[in-house]
């Protein structure tokens, strides 16, 4: 395999391949963060997570169209506004769904899975009716295209760097919200003891609603970021859902750090394998490894040992 390449080539390939893995890692983290909050903190299996992401992507698409039509001069900056709008739209829809659906099912986690699957079917059809069955292309501002020339043979795509930066920012923000803010303490209190939390004056219903909304909102931002590298169609969200759940479960459901570690190991494994075999087989082997490890260590990479 390596015989044909010069040493210098190989070096830069490994750097670029590592970078490809990092982009995949960012994608996984963005997808999984929202889910980790919803699944890890609330125990709700949100099968419609992908559809919340796609909502964010559609919002981004609409924003870019709006800018192109009315404010072409500001087009370069539309993306930042689009991400905020995506967060708000997905978050708001999430809170609506929590109110209408999820709150009736907290005691039946497996049933949330079925109900949200139903929701995902309806959302897909709604997207299809509103935006059409075809994929929509989101035009990127010029500054996001192209790549940075690091050395003569190493090039780094700008949008990849942007996605990674975004991932870091969002992760820090989520960590701050969950671990440092008063609201994060309330969320964790509700997770650990709902009744006690209610008794000490925490509005558990509100905490639930905002937690779900936050998780969905992050999904919306992820969707917005995806328009830079992927496609936006009514069923695009469904493609990600299994990968995302595996990342969260593999990391240990209650642990944000675990989610990040698991996203890192899965993405690096997959991107390394992809270099040696076809994409299909790389995917199969990666998933098999994850499932295999989960069978040996069901609690995932990071898990607290507590008395049940």
């Amino acid at each position: 395999m390596f015989g044909d390449y010069s040493l210098g080539d190989l070096g830069s390939i490994f750097v670029m391949q590592g970078f490809a893995g990092l982009i995949l890692f960012s994608v996984y983290v963005l997808m999984a963060l929202g889910l980790a909050i919803i699944f890890g903190q609330m125990g709700v299996i949100n099968m419609a997570h992908g559809e919340f992401m796609i909502l964010g992507a559609y919002v981004t698409w609409m924003t870019s169209n709006l800018f192109q039509t009315y404010m072409p001069g500001l087009f370069g900056g539309y993306f930042f506004l689009a991400m905020i709008l995506a967060f708000l739209a997905s978050g708001a829809l999430g809170m609506l769904v929590e109110w209408a659906l999820i709150r009736h099912l907290y005691k039946r986690p497996l049933d949330t899975l079925l109900a949200t699957w139903g929701l995902s079917l309806m959302l897909q059809q709604a997207y299809r009716s509103v935006f059409g069955a075809r994929e929509v292309g989101v035009e990127l501002p010029q500054w996001m295209l192209g790549s940075l020339q690091v050395t003569s043979s190493i090039e780094v795509p700008i949008n990849g760097v942007f996605v990674m930066g975004l991932t870091v920012l969002i992760t820090i923000a989520v960590a701050y919200v969950m671990f440092k803010s008063r609201w994060g303490r309330q969320v964790r209190a509700v997770v650990q003891n709902r009744i006690m939390a209610g008794a000490v004056g925490i509005n558990t219903e509100k905490v639930d609603r905002y937690t779900f909304g936050l998780g969905c909102g992050i999904a919306g931002v992820a969707g917005s970021a995806f328009t830079m590298i992927g496609s936006t169609g009514p069923t695009s969200g469904q493609l990600y859902i299994v990968d995302t759940f595996l990342v969260v479960v593999f990391g240990g459901a209650a642990s944000l750090l675990g989610t990040i570690a698991s996203a890192f190991s899965i993405s690096q494994t997959q991107s390394t394998l992809e270099f040696f075999m076809s994409g299909s087989m790389a995917k199969v082997l990666t998933l098999l490894a994850v499932v295999g490890i989960l069978m040996l260590r069901p609690q995932g990479l990071f898990a607290l040992k507590v008395r049940k």
Binding site: M16, E135, V138, I229, G233, S278
Partner: protein, 419 residues
């Protein structure tokens, strides 16, 4: 490749004639009553198809829902347009075409089930339908068992031929070989990198392309990669491309994966203006999602582009947009789907009957001079003689015609030396 050519067709006289024909679909024709003799139903329908004195029923069978709806919508639209135009022009043997639309729902067994329903319950005279190879493979045994007639629009992998199917798209050699010849000659290409979605059509197409590159062009395939349908991460393969520095990237990635692939290609600094890329899977439909700026400069090997400059197409494109909206685009398969109802009409009129056996027998040699792609003719093997064209993608999402074969290319579903 094509020994039998149609040089006469290109004579100026014929061209003028064609131009006159092309106006036919667009202009509303005489009222039906003016067709003095409508043949008796008993004479033209001896097998109990859904044919009355005034109507004949055909089926439209595509995915209106599910993942394939994205691609198949254009085909549905084209078929409806063709049917409307045929009806406006007096119908088939004096009968208006009525269609029953069924949803294959992107699910192959559903296609088989619906095909069976159309043939057994609705007794349709013909089915315009299917898109993916998988749906056609599912429907094929059904149309053969119940002796139906299927007009299949998509370019496909070949290796198939049936009395009950007319393939209005290109089989693999028709689509690929001329394009490879052109790019090898034009760009002096010797090394090729193949990337495809992981299923039969890309694999078969790449197999044929590989044989052609190695045996005919005396070039080298430096990489061949497949990704699962729907895959959105192509950074690894892009690195391999950078490493192997092929003269040509040859792709048959389908569906949503395309969007990710071209965006990532561009982001990785591969400039399609300098790095030749030949795709056999991207039409105007796909560019709609990919974004013209991401794919501009790439070459596509098709038989039809929306931008084709011929009188037929100049009538067809506005008619299509008038019916389905100014924003719609027309890709290769959409045009091929448009051929289906017309070819069927012409064949029925040639056979003087709706009977499937008679249509199957009469099909070879049927010509359609009003085809937006130019002139097409049905071959003995039920595929179409058609030209291979290479277009270069522009920023606005349209293709600019760069090259076309001088002659019609003969369909060769079982190519010797390529299996």
């Amino acid at each position: 490749m094509s020994d039998e050519t149609n040089k006469g067709l290109l004579s100026p006289l014929r061209r003028k004639l064609l131009m006159g024909m092309a106006a036919v679909p667009a202009i509303t024709m005489l009222p039906r009553n003016s067709f003095a003799q409508t043949p008796a139903t008993s004479a033209v329908n001896t097998t109990g198809l859904a044919v009355t004195d005034t109507e004949v029923t055909v089926g439209i069978l595509h995915s209106a829902t599910g993942t394939m709806a994205i691609s198949e919508t254009g085909s549905i639209e084209a078929e409806k347009l063709a049917i409307e135009q045929i009806n406006a022009a007096g119908g088939v043997l004096g009968r208006k075409i009525k269609f029953i639309q069924e949803d294959g729902a992107s699910d192959w067994p559903t296609f088989a089930e619906k095909a069976k329903k159309l043939l057994v319950n609705d007794k349709v005279a013909a089915i315009m339908g299917c898109w993916t190879s998988a749906s056609r493979k599912a429907v094929l045994p059904v149309v053969e068992q119940y002796n139906g007639m299927l007009y299949y629009p998509t370019f496909y992998e070949g290796l198939e031929q049936s009395k009950n199917v007319i393939y209005t798209g290109q089989e693999a050699t028709q689509q690929i070989l001329a394009g490879l010849n052109w790019i090898a000659k034009e760009k002096g290409a010797k090394t090729f990198f193949f990337i495809g979605s992981d299923y039969i059509w890309p694999r078969t197409s790449n197999k044929i392309a590989r044989k052609h590159v190695e045996n005919v062009l005396k070039g080298k395939v430096v990489g061949e990669e497949y990704y699962p349908l729907g895959n959105t991460q192509f950074n690894s393969v892009i690195n391999k491309i950078k490493l192997t520095k092929p003269d040509v990237i040859f792709t048959d990635v389908v569906g949503g994966s395309n969007v990710a692939f071209y965006k990532q290609l561009k982001a990785a600094g591969i400039d399609l203006a300098k790095q030749p890329l030949l795709t056999i899977s991207v039409t105007e439909d796909e560019i709609d999602g990919i974004g013209g700026e991401n794919i501009a400069g790439a070459y596509a090997c098709m038989k039809y582009f929306q931008s084709l400059d011929n009188p037929n197409n100049k009538a067809f494109v506005p008619a299509f947009k008038k019916m389905w909206g100014e924003k719609t685009v027309i890709g290769d398969v959409t045009q091929a789907a448009y051929l289906g109802p017309w070819l069927w009409k012409l064949t029925v009129e040639k056979a003087g009957s709706f009977d499937v056996d008679k249509i199957a027998a009469a099909s070879p040699g049927v010509e359609f001079k009003g085809a937006p792609e130019g002139y097409v003719r049905i071959h003995e093997n039920h595929h179409l003689w058609s030209k291979t064209r290479v277009g270069r993608a522009k920023l606005d999402g349209q293709f600019e015609l760069i090259y076309e074969t001088a002659d019609l290319v003969e369909p060769d579903p079982f190519p010797k030396g390529y299996q």
